[in-house]
């Protein structure tokens, strides 16, 4: 082979390799996550976990941590209320409708107790527990496994309020977050969702094919001073309470202080921010 061409190819290959890896190296070395243990921007949420006690310990609250409490006692025997909350979410967030389970997209949905609370016994469960469905949604964990596994920081924990959010423009659709989530809270857009949106809401972006999505605690509505759509839809029942669980004076903190609540899969150490009274 021609010697010069060979040399050129070698150089070009090496340069291309260096060029591709350069941004990664630059970003990694510049990242505060590696530089110090101070809490940094998104993606670094899991980095400071070493300082905290193990799974069951109580840590000192810091900053705002939004949480949601579902008082199932007020929803027993009233599946239509749950449907109303779900429909409100679907409408506000332009969630497409698919008839088959396979392509389904859901942010909040209802499911039997044994599916919602897989680590709880259903042996001799009460009539109410047996006969009712339970509302489930993203738990906006304080230690979210989905954030830990995402290779692009497309899903991240917002340090300002504890919401686990998605950047639909960065997501590469690897679905690793769906593997990591122990709550099945995430959905993937197997097809173009825009074809299946019943009623388009221009105030919230539609997603594109090939990205993952999930409940965002209505971050966009909170910014406007509104409450989460599911809460608002059934506000008269008082079944859903939303607020800062780190603020002892918030409504949710006061309910939490008074009532015994349970969480989904609490043994996994994800520290969910969604609570249930059953």
């Amino acid at each position: 082979m021609d010697n010069q061409r060979r040399k050129f190819l070698k150089m070009a290959g090496a340069t291309a390799l260096a060029g591709i890896s350069a941004p990664a190296v630059v970003k990694l070395t510049a990242s505060p996550a590696l530089a110090s243990s101070a809490p940094a921007g998104h993606g670094a949420a899991t980095q400071d976990s070493h300082a905290q006690p193990a799974a069951h310990g109580e840590e000192a609250p810091k900053g705002v941590r939004l949480g949601l409490l579902i008082d199932m006692r007020k929803l027993y025997g009233k599946p239509e209320l749950m449907d109303k909350a779900i429909a409100a979410c679907n409408k506000v967030h332009n969630i497409p409708h698919y008839d088959d389970r396979k392509n389904e997209i859901k942010w909040i949905w209802k499911t039997p107790f044994e599916n919602a609370f897989v680590d709880q016994s259903v042996y001799h469960s009460s009539k109410e527990t047996k006969e009712n469905d339970f509302l489930v949604l993203c738990n906006h964990c304080d230690e979210p496994p989905c954030v830990r596994v995402c290779p692009t920081k497309a899903t991240f924990r917002d340090e300002k309020n504890g919401i686990v959010a998605m950047d639909y423009h960065r997501c590469i659709g690897c679905r690793f977050c769906m593997m990591g989530c122990p709550y099945g809270a995430r959905s993937f857009n197997w097809f173009d969702p825009r074809d299946n949106i019943k009623e388009y809401n221009p105030k919230f972006p539609t997603r594109m094919r090939g990205v993952v999505e999930k409940c965002n605690f209505c971050g966009e509505r909170l910014a406007e001073g509104l409450e989460p759509a599911c809460l608002e839809a059934i506000k008269e029942t008082g079944a859903i309470v939303f607020g800062d669980i780190n603020d002892p004076n918030s409504e949710i903190s006061q309910v939490l202080a008074k009532e015994h609540t349970i969480q989904r899969n609490s043994s996994l150490g994800t520290k969910p921010s969604v609570f249930y009274i059953v």
Binding site: M1, L17, I20, S21, P23, A24, K27, L28, A33, L34, G43, Q47, R101, K102, N103, E104, I105, K106, T111, E114, N115, A116, V118, V136, P145, R148, V149, C150, P151, T152, K153, A154, R170, C171, I172, G173, C174, R175, F176, M178, M179, G180, C181, P182, Y183, G184, S187, F188, N189, W190, F191, D192, M208, R209, G210, V211, N265, L268, G269, T270
Partner: protein, 392 residues
């Protein structure tokens, strides 16, 4: 050297044409998926990883399996592997390229793939997997090509290349360890949440990779007048036996932990894979025949090898059949069962069975065919160079 791949007999071109047909079908299937959506696959909300990722996982093992040639030759100076070490390195190159293709086939937004590099995320195991896979691919390209070039010029390989050879040894272990870590660090996925996942992956890799190399050697003996040597093949089958036995041992340990602890989450996936899982009045068992085929092929291959070694029988056909049996067994175990089994029961204790679609299988076969074509071309170059040097 690549020009060696451009000259061949009609069988060579027929074989490449045969593979090209599959590649073409795969490419068309991929275009359909690219333009219509991942919904064309059998994956869904509950079972959101499927055939692509399972093939990826298996092929990382095939790539790592080359270590079983590199390590004895370069570390223990085991000269018998001298002629075939390059085959291990070239197989790793092809397998890794297939891995990257499967990853690209699997992601929903392939055009955003570079986000992995533009937004590097060290807490994601997928990031590290990319690092080690690209690292191992580069190392094999460098080592394979430089050493083969030196051989062609009939000079000793430059000393600096040995640094890369030695680095490639821990890298081979790392690619499969990190690939196992994709799975074994996920809360709520009980079947995968096992510290033995990485060792098990390595054991099956060290059987599957060499098994494939033996098969290729036996084929090339017939069609390309390339003889790896009896002793080399013999040693390889011994390695395959040990590795496959260790893998089977690890699988048995998983059974023990599941059944003796009697924790349902630990049993579900194994029940589903081997006996059928009853749930809500329905028995889910679509993988049971595959898994038992795997068991029988694995032990059949082991018994065959054992018998041949004790009775001192030397028969290429039997060796090839044994290797094929073990390779298929491990493919069924890791290339199907491990991923699908771990996902059959979702985090909400709902059971979903996975059936790949025709489009998905088309893409998968296309990538496999591409890999075989790549191996054919690389091996053609390697053995032509060796034969030229030996003066055939």
């Amino acid at each position: 050297m690549i020009e060696k791949a451009l000259k061949g007999n009609s069988a060579y071109w027929m074989w490449l044409a045969f593979l090209s047909a599959f590649i073409a079908v795969g490419a068309i299937c991929y275009l359909r998926q690219f333009f219509i959506g991942m919904g064309l696959t059998g994956m869904g909300r509950d079972l959101s990883w499927g055939l692509y990722i399972s093939q990826f996982t298996f092929l990382v093992g095939v790539a790592a399996g080359g270590l079983m040639l590199v390590l004895p030759y370069y570390i223990h100076n085991y000269k018998v592997f001298g002629r075939i070490t390059i085959l291990g390195e070239f197989l790793a190159i092809a397998a890794l390229i297939m891995c990257l293709m499967f990853i690209m086939a699997d992601i929903g937004q392939p055009l955003r793939g570079l986000n992995m590099i533009l937004h590097p995320t060290p807490n994601s195991m997928l990031f590290w997997d990319m690092v080690v896979l690209l690292g191992y691919l580069s190392l094999n390209l460098i080592c394979g090509w430089v050493i083969l070039t030196a051989e062609k010029k009939q000079v000793k390989p430059p000393k600096w290349v040995y640094i890369f050879v030695y680095i490639s040894i821990p890298f081979a272990v790392s690619i499969h360890t990190v690939t196992a870590m994709l799975y074994c660090g996920l809360p709520g996925r009980h079947f995968w949440l096992s510290a033995i996942t990485a060792p098990r992956f390595l054991a099956s890799a060290f059987a599957a990779g060499p098994a494939l190399i033996v098969i290729f050697c036996l084929i090339m003996k017939r069609v390309a007048n390339f003889d790896a040597g009896k002793e080399a093949i013999n040693k390889l089958t011994t390695i395959i036996m040990y590795a496959a036995l260790i893998n089977a041992f690890f699988v048995c340990l998983e059974f023990f932990v599941g059944w003796y602890s009697n924790i349902p989450g630990h049993k579900h996936a194994l029940e589903y894979l081997f006996f059928g899982l009853e749930h809500g009045g329905h028995v889910y068992n679509n993988l049971v025949p595959f898994m038992w085929t795997s068991v029988f092929l694995c032990f059949g291959g082991l018994l065959l090898f054992g018998y041949m070694k004790i009775a001192k029988i030397d028969n290429d056909l039997l060796v090839g059949l044994g290797c094929l049996a073990i390779f298929i067994a491990l493919w069924l175990d890791k290339g199907l069962g491990f991923v699908f089994g771990g996902l059959a029961v979702n985090p909400l204790n709902e059971v979903t069975e996975y059936y790949p679609t025709a489009n998905e299988i088309g893409i998968t076969l296309g990538i496999w065919a591409f890999g075989f074509a790549l191996v054919t071309i690389l091996y053609k170059v390697a053995i032509k160079v060796e034969q030229e040097v030996e003066g055939h």
